[in-house]
């Protein structure tokens, strides 16, 4: 058996048992587990090859790349190989821009309907269930100058290295906090990049809070790995700590990094600044599909509400991996397997006992994989200074170029949350659809109002969650009633292939 590649929307089936969105560790494992239980599975992913961001490019990686990126990266090979040997259908470079309950005009609602774009054409397909494994993205890092060419995320440099063998060639500064920061620094140094400084913005107070979880951390796989990375980076690069302000400066492009720390303010001539302060769930699809979420104070983000079987508040939708709250690559793969088993159980392919028997060993490993997580969350929780910009000039919404000052200035107008605010400023209404400003906006408003972020809420995210051309939308089959509502009359029969499709 091997996966069935789908390269055009016309190759898609009318209906699948399970739609999985995202081909990172969680999505791959979910699709594999569900397909192994006999479900018909479609996995859709933005990228050209499986692996997600963490195992990006793993199927094409040379021995040199694997050795450069280390054992944790190479671990992705097993997950991908098992998926490629499964009976699932796999649509690479396919974006899923909507998931909603399927509501035929006649008959009872059943399962889901999803909008999929692939190779320039869109199609609505049906699925009895869906698992969202949309992973994570790097937390917004709103500092002055973060929109300048030459300022990128640390993750982006890692992706460039994984997919294209690119390493920074000029003076490079890595700034922020989180486990990836030191991992990337050591990878770049190993690859010969000239990293002139690592600016560590981890707040000092975090250590005290993290200490409560230190024993679990030391016993976890993270402990030794982390200590080794820190030692390696310290040997080669200047590490600047106790940072109170950070700025990217330049005219039309980055020329220097301005850092204020205990010793004063320094200007570092820099060609490339790589920012990173942890990752947060990629929420757009789960929010647009109606899945409930809540504020997670320890991870300083909204996380979808998910039960022990990865079930969301929407009856036919599950969430696996980092998309449901950050659990890391190893945890995500295990979580994906649980989600796949749960889908097979809900669709009657596994009894409750079979599900539990298969899940038990996975849960045991998951528990140990997550042991060091609370320590990491506490230790690397980014400081308020770098999440909630005090400088009124700092751009918060990169797309519409809305500053922190402009957002704060809407408060006296009676703004209570992000959705009223955006009506004044278009903040969050550009092409990234709030992905790079949503959390910042919520926290600024919460700070201004003196309430918890959960009370302020998040943007109302609506479909399509990825840009779809009018041509693609216009080519979708329409129901008689939809055509009549617009044109007043139904002139010709709708496409015979999709008589029940509904927009």
């Amino acid at each position: 058996m091997s996966v069935h590649p789908v390269s055009a929307v016309s190759d898609l089936e009318e209906i699948y048992d399970l739609l999985v969105v995202g081909a990172g560790p969680a999505g791959l494992s979910a699709a594999t587990a569900a397909a192994e239980c006999g479900l018909s599975v479609l996995l859709c992913d933005d990228n050209g090859s499986p692996g997600g961001q963490i195992y990006r490019g793993i199927t094409e990686a040379s021995a040199a790349t694997k050795s450069r990126l280390g054992k944790d990266y190479a671990a992705g090979e097993g997950i991908v190989t098992r998926f490629l040997a499964s009976s699932a259908s796999y649509a690479a470079r396919a974006s899923v821009w909507s998931i909603a309950p399927h509501e035929p005009e006649t008959g009872e609602a059943s399962g889901l309907e999803a909008g999929v774009s692939l190779a320039g054409a869109a199609r609505l397909i049906r699925a009895r269930r869906a698992i969202l494994a949309t992973g994570a993205l790097e937390r917004p890092f709103p500092i002055p100058g973060w929109t300048l060419p030459g300022v990128m995320t640390a993750g982006s440099a890692q992706i460039a290295m994984k997919t294209a063998g690119l390493v920074p060639s000029g003076r490079t500064v890595i700034a922020g906090t989180g486990p990836l920061l030191y991992l990337l620094a050591s990878q770049l140094i190993g690859a010969g990049a000239s990293v002139i400084a690592v600016i560590d913005t981890t707040p000092n107070g975090n250590k005290r809070r993290a200490l409560a979880h230190a024993i679990d951390f030391v016993r976890s796989a993270y402990g030794l790995k982390g200590a080794r990375l820190l030692a390696q980076v310290h040997r080669h690069v200047r590490v600047i700590r106790n940072v109170t302000a950070l700025e990217a400066a330049g005219n039309g492009g980055l020329s220097e990094v301005v850092v204020t720390h205990r010793g004063g303010t320094e200007r570092l001539p820099t060609d490339l600044l790589l920012l990173h302060q942890g990752i947060v769930p990629n929420l757009n699809l789960s929010l647009a599909s109606g899945c409930a979420s809540g504020w997670n104070e320890r991870q300083a983000t909204f996380t979808p509400t998910v039960d022990e079987w990865c079930q969301t508040s929407m009856p036919d939708i599950g969430i696996a991996g980092d998309a449901g709250g950050i659990i890391g690559a190893e945890g995500s793969a295990l979580h994906g397997t649980l989600a796949g088993l749960a889908a097979a159980w809900r669709l009657g392919r596994l009894s409750e006992r079979e599900r539990d028997e298969r899940a038990a060993p996975v849960r045991a490993i998951l528990r140990s994989a997550l042991r060091g997580r609370p320590f990491i969350d506490e230790l690397f929780r980014p400081s308020d200074d770098f999440r909630i910009p005090a400088n009124p000039e700092t751009i918060v919404c990169r797309c519409e170029e809305v500053t922190a000052g402009a957002i704060r200035a809407t408060m006296p107008l009676g703004v209570r949350g992000p959705n009223q605010m955006k009506a004044y400023l278009r903040c969050g209404m550009g092409p990234c659809q709030g992905r790079l400003c949503g959390l910042t906006v919520t926290e600024i408003i919460a700070q201004e109002r003196g309430v918890a972020p959960g009370e302020v809420g998040y943007y109302n995210v609506r479909t399509p969650i990825k840009p779809v051309t009018l041509k693609e939308l216009a080519a979708l089959p329409q129901s008689d009633s939809a055509i009549k509502a617009v044109a007043g009359i139904v002139e010709k029969p709708v496409s015979a292939n999709h008589p029940q499709s509904h927009v």
Binding site: D46, E138, M152, S156, A164, G192, E401, P431, P467
Partner: protein
Amino acid sequence: MFRRLPDRQGDLVTFTFDGTPLTALMGDTVAAALLAAGVTRFRTTPVSGAERGPYCMMGVCFECLVSINGRGNRQACLTTVEEGMQVETQHGAATYSTEISA
């Protein structure tokens, strides 16, 4: 800003950026190919005209929007470079031909 590691080899692809011929490795995304060729400014914003380049390289930030073969608003980081591709800086908002094609 970026250089290609010497152990990274493969078939070459030729494309143009604002009319200038450039080479990339087969399989590169347009964003990676441009960065490898020393291009850091991909577009100007519709709001202030500020210059922007790739930020996330994973399809979420939409900073790497370019025009490809005459069609605007293409995410360079999610598009694989192809032989003969014509890539151009996107100035401000994308513009469209009003001609209706079948």
